[in-house]
């Protein structure tokens, strides 16, 4: 009977497909280098730019993987990052302590995340719904923080020394190590994936939906806090537009990284990092090619959209099964 062989092929194909995002990242990087050589770009500046622009996204997205794994969605990620950055900036301006600033950033985003998830569990709402409300609240709070002392911005001075790629990479390394540990090596991660895969089954296996939704938001909250911290350092001037595109970019990034949109057992932490770097490298490539072309931004957006759909399609192959009637 050749059924076993067939299934082996199936698993092999699954493995190949699951490697696609990494292959994609490598290809994009190769393309970047080739075009960079042709265009004679400044590679040192280029790689720094990629790291600078990817890391904050990667950190917030890595934390958000926990939410996406549950098959849920947090629309307030961007707003939460902004509030966190505002809080950090104000604390730093008041105290001059980077550590207090870090604590403020993480504390604020954790509180925001907890409110979303706890409200969701109290009122038995999908957490997505509470994050929609949370987004408005957070936007209002950030507006208050930003305009609170007059002006339309929070200016943080004296932190430019911290604005370097190494701090970002270290924070990313530590946080992603924590996430990988929780996600792959503890009961928490297993249960998160099970919940995302089939909440009914998970419940009938004694797993509390609410408890793990809250835990997911805690992990995401830490990521947002670290992202807000780095955003405050990087931007040094925080306005209501700061971190504005992060919410949607996270979604695109994790899909680029090979995360199934529906979450579940095939969720991968590294999807966030691979995806974040992939879309930023793609952006760099498009910038190189299109910067001098009229209508460049429109073209770049379309190219990004095509890549996005292609990735969603490739990812979805992974989860479609052939109809095998009994």
């Amino acid at each position: 009977m050749d059924k076993a062989k067939t299934n082996d092929k199936y698993s092999r194909r699954q493995k190949i497909i699951s490697l696609t995002p990494i292959i994609g990242l490598v290809l994009l990087l190769a393309l970047y280098v080739v075009i960079g050589l042709i265009k004679d770009i400044n590679f040192k500046a280029g790689f720094e730019a990629i790291v600078n622009q990817s890391v904050i996204l990667a950190i917030v997205a890595t934390g958000a993987i926990f939410i996406f794994t549950l098959g849920s969605f947090d629309i307030s990620l961007g707003a939460s990052t902004l509030v966190s950055a505002c809080a950090g900036g104000l604390i730093y301006n008041a105290t001059g302590s980077v550590w207090l600033m870090l604590v403020a950033c993480v504390a604020v985003s954790l509180i925001a995340s907890l409110i979303s998830s706890v409200l969701g569990s109290i009122f038995n709402l999908p957490v997505f719904v509470t994050t929609v409300a949370m987004m408005s609240v957070l936007s209002a709070i950030s507006e208050m923080l930003i305009t609170g002392k007059g002006g339309n911005q929070i200016r943080i001075t004296g932190l430019s020394g911290l604005e370097n790629i190494w701090l970002k990479l270290i924070v990313l390394a530590i946080f992603s190590a924590l996430c990988v540990f929780v996600f792959e090596f503890t009961k928490i991660g297993r249960r998160q994936k099970a919940l995302g895969g089939n909440p009914v089954c998970a419940k009938l296996t004694g797993i509390s939906v609410k408890k793990y939704a809250i835990l997911a938001f805690v992990m995401a909250g830490i990521g947002i806090g670290l992202g807000g911290f780095l955003t405050a350092i990087r931007a040094s001037t925080i306005t209501s537009g700061t971190a504005g595109d992060i919410g949607m970019n996270i979604f695109i990034a994790i899909v680029f990284g090979g995360m199934p949109i529906s979450g579940g057992p095939r969720s991968r932490i590294y999807a966030a990092i691979i995806g974040s770097f992939s879309i930023k490298i793609l952006s760099q490539i498009l910038t190189m090619l299109l910067a001098a072309v009229p209508g460049a931004n429109g073209i770049a957006q379309m190219v990004r959209a095509v890549f996005f759909l292609a990735m969603v399609y490739l990812a979805s192959i992974n989860y479609r099964t052939k109809m095998l009637p009994r």
Binding site: D8, T205, P265
Partner: protein
Amino acid sequence: MVSSVKERVRGEVLLTVSDMTKTFGPVTALNNVSMTLRRGDVLGLIGENGSGKSTVSSIIAGMQKADRGEMTFLGEKWDPQSMLDALERGVGMIVQESGTIPGISVAENIFLGELYQFSKFGIVSRKKLNDAANAVLKNIGVENVSGDMPMISLDFQARKLIEIAKVVMKEPEILIVDETTTALSQHGREVLYKIVDRYRSENRAVIFISHDLDEIMEVCDTLTVLRDGNMIRTFEKSEFDPDDIRTSMIGREMQGDYYRSDFVPSWDEDVALNVDNVVVTGHVNGVSLEVHRGEILGIGGLSHCGMHTLGKTMFGAVAPDGGKVTLSDGTEVKNEFVAMKNMLGYVSKDRDNESLILSASVKDNIAIAGMEKYAVNNFLILDGREKKYVDEQIDGLSIKCSSRDQAVQTLSGGNKQKVVFGKWVGRGSEILILDCPTRGVDIGVKQAMYQLMVKLKSEGKSIIMISEELPELMGMSDRLIIMKDGKVTKEFLRSSELSDAEIIKYMI
């Protein structure tokens, strides 16, 4: 065309299938299958999961196309373009999956796509539509459903009956019944059997597909066994013998007993689980019972007698409106978490939706319930330990999979169920609540399940088996509780003297 049939001569060839082959990627679902269907035939197709019985019938009914092979129907080449096309031309199939639309009425479902018949100037006459639907339903013997009822108000069985009505209304020459009875209770089955009888007497033909060997032997005149896409053997009614048929289905002699060999009820004195006057409004109406260690307690009844809800309540998944479920030490099973902690296990009737994470691997599904067995400090999960734990279950239950990383959704029904068992047995569940544990499972796996239950019983575990199939309840239970309308109507002790008729009396 159907209307062109003037005279139906018994024994006339209706349909031929020759050398049909169908592959799904590298899997050969059908391998050179040939068969002939004559007027007046009621042909049973039987085989384990993946044997090809649904594939062949779905090709005949126009649901998909064969890769190779010819078909003729009424002497002409048969190549239906769709199920609808096939039905219009005389071959109708009642499918496994539910094909009704919940948001509209029963009558609209029955006449879906044909509402123009009842409309004037674009306005559908409700009355005409409902009257027509009622006539169709009455014709097949369904009387408690009327055309104006919203589909969504019907239960699973009634929806299945609507599907049957939709197909039979067209009076196809060949009716294909694919695993339909699994969803039906006694009444529904009788409706279907009457239709089959009518088809036989009108010299039409029926292809009947079922897992249930007893049923298929009862209903069919001939029986064709398929295995791995090949036709193995065709039995005439006079040759029907359960053991022979099973042997040809699984391709080897059955080893050991099928059900329990003894007829002596036995259990330890210790009560493992106590159900005290449990009420779940609309489902369970004051049930009290005790389950002992080393006991297999069977719970039977019609599908809506409340036993499935009772099963969930015992696991803490449904909070009772009255009464309580307690363990030997008095702990109340308030929720699934408490149940898990106290080593209860629950296998749902709805395996795909409630007991498995289909997109996850065999490993993930088995491992998720047994983490306290292999996690370091009940927290840290190490790959090696997890794999070892999972492999033990895969080996112990002989789960057929290419690797522990294979997605569960690609497994056969029987192997899926083994994974569910692995999940609960592996963690050492002391009390197992099994709701329809052998539903949609082929004979080989069924036997393995029964043998496992006997083994667990001998280890002093408690098993509550909720089932709609009387033979397995009678074959396995130490005590058999029959429920009706949410209440216990009778308790039987294990005995060789038990008869279906006696038991059914308390069910209906």
